[in-house]
Amino acid sequence: MRPALLYPLLSGVLILLFGLSLMAGPVWVPFSVWTTPDLDPRWAIIFELRLPRACLAVLVGAALGLSGAALQGYTRNPLADPGVLGVSSTAALGAVIALYYGATVISPWMQPAAAMVGALLGVGVLLALSGKGSSLVGFILAGAVLNIIAGAGVSLALSLAPNPWAVAEIVNWLMGSLADRSFEEVRLALPFIVLGCGLLLATGPALDALTLGEAGARSLGVSMSRTRALLAGGVGLAAGAAVAVTGVIGFVGLVTPHLIRPLVGARPGALLIPSAVGGAIVTLAADIVVRLVPAAVEIKLGVAMAAVGAPFFLIVLLRDRSRLS
């Protein structure tokens, strides 16, 4: 699909879903309320609850979609994704440690900072493993191990913390949710996500060159160390800040590039921006669905994404296993 057609299409879908997100919820708010801030408390539903939630869905979705596309491009592996590879979990561990051991008393910025450090460490481990062209299975296993370790770390940290709501908090962090967020979270995450996405977009030409393998890319004058630094920094900042405000939401980075490839082709550099927009669309759509599903308690977004993403992952793995191994 030509870019001239693709970008307006994606943007249109995004705007449509953004509008739907403002209207979706257990309470129906008539349009007349939208212009009466002080007269009707339901105005707060739209502007203090749903608007920040929609903004956050777009930011987090873009961060995760772009991180997934960049990780897939670098590792030449269509199953890479910050959640699957454990980067989101290590970010959550960083945030939990900072939050529950009092670092946020120093400054509320400590929480996203710790999440980003956690994400950087996770990416670092993965890059160290993929540098020698490791097999698909080895790579996924490394991600699974990171997930287990970080998840156990979160549970341990919270069970030792003095907060009586520790068990509920573990669920919050490991299952991911956009519920009940405010503009404070948007403000906290925005600068880091924007910066991280910028770094990731700069890896485009290098990711294209990597189509020929590391030796091929280096022979084309691409600096692998610079690419690794941009990738680690970008994923660390973008995925780290996203996890800091919403917890672990997985599979967005996995699913979005697969949805975009049929439209744009498989060249990794071409997938970057569309994956960011696509990730925002996927996250917004999923968030709307969890709010409209009639259940006693709102389903956590991370759970919903896993319910869709895990079968998707399995299908891709089964379909392509002969090609991938």
Binding site: R76, A202, G204, P205, D208, A209, L210, T211, L212, G213, A215, G216, R218, S219, L220, G221, V222, S223, G265, A266, R267, P268
Partner: protein
């Protein structure tokens, strides 16, 4: 060291240690453009290592690899990439892209984030024409045969319009017909002024294709010169441990391996 000249691709006293082992021990050679130089030798002799070092992808433990008198490591990577194209041994194509996209990757040392310019596209078209793959331009590389894919990869290397092409075992795995096509292509490229450096396993092809043969054995140069002078039965005996005879046939010289020592 004899005849060290400033122009051309050279290695002087190259020593390369990898994984605790000495792979190359004191290799010196000067290669001129407009020629096909073929490096042969048994497995483990260091052919790939020598090719990578001459291509600037591997830094020698001691010694110097230079291009026109300037050390390869002193070149900014993009400038080196513009002048010297490399075809690595096991070519990887990670994604199912179109032929045109793949060949376009050869323009990476020239482009930035803005993508391919009109000049870049023109160079891509020329490269595809030289290698005869223009007909597949919009097909996915995954739908091509082995021989077609080999030509596309050569087109990618040519898209940058380099002065030098270093290819490590480019004919391995190709059908005989495709091997001949590729060999003819390398010949024509050298005739146009490109400096072509290949490593090959097939001794007969080396004999017929090369303007110059370098025989490596256990990390050292055993012979270096025109094919008839470098690939003698005596050299073959010492390098490969086989008894062989060079026969002349209607198609050209033929290396006939008679038996082991």
């Amino acid at each position: 060291m004899s005849g060290f000249s400033a122009a051309g691709l050279s290695g002087s006293d190259l020593h390369v240690d990898l994984g605790g082992r000495r792979i190359l021990g004191g290799v010196s050679l000067n290669l001129s453009p407009g020629q096909v130089t073929v490096i042969v030798g048994p497995n483990g002799a260091g052919k790939s290592t020598l090719a990578s070092t001459l291509a600037g992808l591997l830094k020698p433990t001691s010694g110097l690899a230079t291009l026109d008198g300037r050390p390869l490591s002193a070149f900014p990577p993009r400038e080196r990439a513009r002048r010297l194209a490399v075809l690595p041994q096991t070519p990887e194509i990670a994604w199912p892209v179109t032929v045109r996209t793949l060949v376009g990757l050869g323009r990476t040392p020239f482009t930035g984030a803005t993508g391919l310019s009109a000049a870049d596209h023109a160079a891509v078209d020329r490269a595809m024409q030289t290698t005869g793959v223009t007909a597949f331009a919009d097909r996915l590389v995954t739908t091509l045969s082995g021989g077609e894919r080999a030509r596309v990869l050569i087109a990618r290397a040519l898209a940058g319009e380099p002065e030098w092409l270093v290819a490590d075992e480019p004919l391995t795995g190709l059908d005989p017909a495709h091997q001949l096509d590729a060999a003819a292509l390398f010949r024509s490229l050298a005739d146009r002024g490109l400096g072509v450096v290949l490593t090959l396993h097939d001794l007969t092809l080396a004999l017929r294709l090369a303007d110059r043969v370098v025989v490596l054995s256990q990390g050292a140069v055993l012979a270096d010169g025109p094919p008839a002078a470098a690939l003698t039965p005596d050299v073959l005996r010492r390098a490969f441990g086989v008894e062989a005879v060079i026969e002349t046939t209607a198609a050209g010289p033929l290396v006939d391996v008679r038996g082991r020592l």
